[in-house]
């Protein structure tokens, strides 16, 4: 299926080889990180030009997919908020203690408009330091978190 090989060099960069061409420092990028994380992944060269397009991640051989996923894992950082345990105030700026799929942390909400509605139930919250937190399904959160969140929506 795929016409290229992907390896990791000692410098920790991905190397793509195809028909004698060699690209070092290849970056995998999701085209739709939120809407369709496992589809439409593009491989960019170090200069930022697209060198390969992957329609579906699961169509790749296991080793290549594992490499791409591990590279994506350390590039993409959108912790998913599972629970909001505490907010410092209902007026912004407000510091939230949250439980995420990446562990417990706190985020600084600078203004209410940093909460973006992705759909009726999904939210993207950008904290004061540029990290994006996601809430995939509002309805699935516990009452306490929903009540806290409701004060900001």
């Amino acid at each position: 299926m795929n016409d290229f090989q992907l390896t990791r060099n000692p410098a920790g960069r991905l190397v793509l080889t195809r028909e004698g061409e060699r690209h070092e420092g290849v970056l995998p990028v999701r085209s739709y990180p939120i809407a369709a994380p496992d589809e439409c992944v593009s491989l960019l060269s170090a200069e930022g030009h697209e060198i390969a397009w992957i329609e579906r991640l699961d169509s790749l051989p296991d080793d290549v997919r594992a490499l791409i996923i591990s590279e994506l894992a350390c590039r993409e950082f959108t912790p998913e908020i599972k629970r909001i345990s505490h907010v410092s105030s209902f007026a912004t700026p407000s510091t939230w203690q949250v439980e995420t799929d990446k562990g417990d942390t706190e985020l600084l909400l600078k203004a209410e408009d940093h909460i973006r509605h992705l759909s009726a139930t999904a939210l993207l919250i950008t904290d004061g330091h540029g990290v994006s937190f996601m809430i995939r399904d509002l309805e699935k959160m516990d009452t306490h978190s929903r009540k806290l969140l409701d004060r900001f929506l």
Binding site: M1, A11, R56, S89, K102, L108
Partner: protein, 760 residues
């Protein structure tokens, strides 16, 4: 960089103990960095240390410690992407380790890396490292002490949540009117007292006139006329005093509102472009317009009424107690209940009203988004969709209002019910007292007269709950603007430059927009009078660089200096006076052409305006307009062509005679013929000034002394046209692509990569 060697004392105690137990006894900790992500980007705290012997990494959760002793070939690099920073340690070209952190720790991380590099060099060469200038806050330039990650000045103002007593902060605006306020208060006291006279007079009217008459005593008309005159006089007095009080206080509150609006707007204008980028016009307009009006109405109407009511309750209570303490006590019993109920509902209503505010600004945002883009909406025939978007927002507004109305509607009838209950208590207790001859019928009548007024006011007082909350929410939104510190702050100790030569030095400039690095480690020295052409694909950071030079934003790293002085230490408006800016889409304000040309220098004489217009090749077309220089141009310069507007904006830049000139795609939106006209105008403008020009069409940069080719925020090539053509690099490719097709934009000219697709 300075950092007096961080003793382990600056390290948090918990880490200190761990680090001590993991390191060799004699190893001294020189620098530390707490990182908060592990290799799989889970939140987990670990510690990086620079010690005398090398770099150490302490992973507390897995209780491992990695040592990387100093040796030649060791190097560290740092990148960030999407809010995550990454520190990589290389030995030659082999990666030894990779650590992650969120950008909240970025300042510390960068300092840590510099320290690492210094100590590495010191360890390898044997020369101890030297400390240089003290660290400054990247935002406000105030000095920071070592190991403070955030500037104490900036972070304390930005991150502190606003207090609940926001309304009290309005005192700042009320202070200039304190004498008017005092006289208003005294008038209020007097008028309230006057309104309390009539019920008091019902007592003698009842006991001395009506009841004796029923018992057979004839009416004493002298007493009656005195009592009636008293009633009339007190009513008249209350009327006059009430009028004076309301008038004075309304006058004051209107002035407070006006001051609030003006000050907020002035503050808003001083905020950096970054603030405007993140806010919607509709929202800002409603904050300054309707919120300040709401506060004004609150002050002049509701707060006034409330204060009057409180005064009346206090006075009434005093009078009632003086007449009969027992009955007064019974009368006032329901009061705490009502107070409790008000307090209870208060919290719910407040959150509800805040929500309504937010939803309401959503509704107006839909309008503010759509109406300016109406041409696009119509062109794509999406009126239905936009109408639907508005309908949804409006529906949401309705739902939120419905929810709050549920509580609100229950509130008022409940207060009325309690009022009736209160009256019932007075009746019952009063009749019992009358039957025991403890009080006269007149006293009871007076009590009822007082109490019915009293409760009627309680009902309206309860309204203060919601209006106060609304006004507080409005005040909060206004103070949000007022509290926002410009991210382009005025320097603490400004340096004044009266005349400048126009030398610009960019050293190691980096800029991050949100979590995306737009400019990285850029170095450029521009000589006075030199013309620099910035070339590159769109998104390569040209416009950002220009925005940084104008100080619309502040650099995230590095420094921009003019004549050797960091631009952050110059007063912002003084600095911008030296800069002339010509933009791609020139904005003309509503007013005459002359006013628009003289925008940057309102004191310019007519002759100067005409001279500037001549130099900008705008004079002749202006004369062809029916009203010449007095012709009105609209918001976007309706009635003028793109080229004409552009030449007016060039005249505007010429008139302030700036030493530094910035042309941001000045000829991009006009046809070739007009471009030649504008080019002639620009050639006049460029003469003798340091010029930075961005142009899509490379041909417009033929006069540039040097061309700087940017790609992804980095300089890839510098040189004049001939040199760059000779090297056959990025510029050569751009130029070739344009030469083939004159009208091609740079974006289309990117070197074509063969795209292979992997199909599923």
């Amino acid at each position: 960089m300075n950092n007096p060697i961080p003793t382990p004392a600056s390290l948090p105690d918990a880490w200190c103990a761990i680090a001590r137990s993991r390191l060799a006894d004699h190893d001294e900790i020189l620098a530390w960095l707490e990182i908060n992500l592990d290799a799989r980007l889970n939140f987990s705290k670990s510690l990086l240390l620079v010690t005398r012997s090398g770099l150490a990494y302490i992973d507390n959760e897995r209780s491992t410690t990695d040592h990387f002793p100093f040796r030649p070939g060791l190097s560290v690099s740092r990148h960030d992407h999407g809010g995550v920073g990454r520190i990589e340690l290389f030995d030659g070209s082999v990666r030894q380790a990779c650590w992650f952190y969120t950008l909240a720790h970025n300042v510390q991380a960068m300092r840590f890396i510099r320290q690492f590099e210094q100590y590495l060099e010191a360890a390898l060469t044997g020369v101890p490292c030297i400390d240089d200038a003290p660290e400054c806050c990247p935002d406000c330039l105030s000095p920071m002490s070592a190991d403070q990650g955030e500037c104490p000045q900036c972070s304390s103002t930005i991150n502190a949540p606003p207090s609940t007593w926001t309304l009290l902060r309005l005192w700042r605006f009320a202070k200039p009117y304190k004498w008017q306020l005092l006289s208003g208060f005294l008038l209020m006291l007097a008028s309230t007292a006057a309104t309390l006279v009539p019920p008091y007079l019902t007592m003698p009217l009842m006991d001395k006139v009506l009841i004796p008459y029923q018992n057979g005593t004839p009416i004493d008309f002298v007493v009656v006329s005195w009592l009636l005159a008293g009633l009339f006089g007190s009513a008249l007095l209350a009327w006059g005093l009430g009028w004076a009080k309301t008038y004075i206080l309304a006058l004051v509150s209107e002035r407070i509102g006006a001051d609030l609006r003006t000050i907020t707007y002035e503050h808003l204008l001083r905020l950096s472009l970054e603030y405007f980028g993140g806010k919607r016009t509709g929202d800002l307009m409603s904050r300054i317009g309707s919120e300040s009006d709401r506060i004004c109405v609150f002050l002049s109407l509701h707060l006034l009424d409330f204060a009057t009511d409180v005064l009346m309750i206090l006075m009434t209570a005093a009078i009632l107690f003086s007449i009969n303490p027992q009955l007064a006590l019974a009368t006032l019993v329901p009061l705490p209940f009502i107070a409790w109920m008000i307090h209870n509902v208060r919290d719910r209503l407040r959150t509800g009203f805040e929500k309504i505010d937010r939803v309401w600004s959503q509704v107006s945002n839909v309008l503010a988004d759509t109406i300016p883009g109406i041409r696009v909406v119509k062109a794509f025939a999406q009126e239905g969709r936009e109408a639907e978007r508005f309908r949804v927002a409006n529906q949401h507004n309705l739902q939120v209002n419905d929810r709050i109305n549920k509580i609100w509607s229950l509130f008022t009838p409940s207060v009325s019910l309690l009022t009736e209950m209160g009256l019932l208590v007075v009746w019952a207790f009063g009749i019992w007292q009358v039957s025991n001859n403890q009080i006269t019928v007149g006293v009871l009548t007076a009590f009822l007269a007082y109490i019915s007024r009293f409760y009627a006011r309680l009902d309206s007082m309860s309204r203060i709950v919601s209006v106060t909350q609304k006004a507080a929410a409005g005040a909060k939104r206004i103070f949000d603007i007022l509290d926002h510190v410009s991210s382009v702050p005025e320097p603490v100790n400004p340096v004044h430059l009266n005349t400048i030569d126009g030398r610009i030095d960019l050293t190691n400039v980096g800029f991050r927009y949100g979590n995306r690095a737009v400019i990285k480690g850029l170095n450029l020295n521009i000589q006075p009078g030199e013309m620099i052409g910035l070339v590159g694909h769109s998104g390569s950071g040209k416009s950002t660089l220009v925005n940084l030079m104008c100080r619309f934003y502040d650099v995230s790293e590095g420094a921009i200096s003019i004549d050797g002085v960091n631009i952050k230490s110059l007063p912002v408006s003084e600095y911008r006076r030296h800069i002339g800016l010509v933009l791609q889409d020139p904005f003309l304000f509503f007013g005459s052409i002359a006013e628009n040309i003289a925008y940057g220098r309102p004191d310019a004489t007519r002759a100067q305006i005409v001279a500037a217009a001549r130099a900008a090749h705008a004079h002749e077309f202006i004369l062809r307009l029916p009203h010449g220089y007095d012709s009105l141009v609209g918001e976007r310069g309706h009635g003028l062509s793109g080229g004409e507007r552009q030449r007016i904006s060039i005249a505007r830049a010429l008139l302030i005679d700036p030493k530094i000139l910035i042309l941001d795609e000045a000829t991009a939106s006009v046809d070739t013929e007009t471009e030649k006209e504008i080019q002639k105008a620009l050639d006049n403008l460029v003469e003798g000034r340091t010029t930075i020009a961005i142009a899509h069409r490379l041909s417009t940069l033929h006069k540039a002394n040097r061309l700087v080719v940017l790609d992804k925020g980095e300089v890839v090539e510098i040189g004049n046209h001939d040199e760059l053509m000779a090297t056959e690099g990025a510029y050569y490719r751009l130029y070739q692509a344009q030469a083939r097709n004159v009208d091609t934009d740079l974006d289309d000219a990117s070197p074509v990569e063969i795209e292979h697709k992997v199909s599923a």
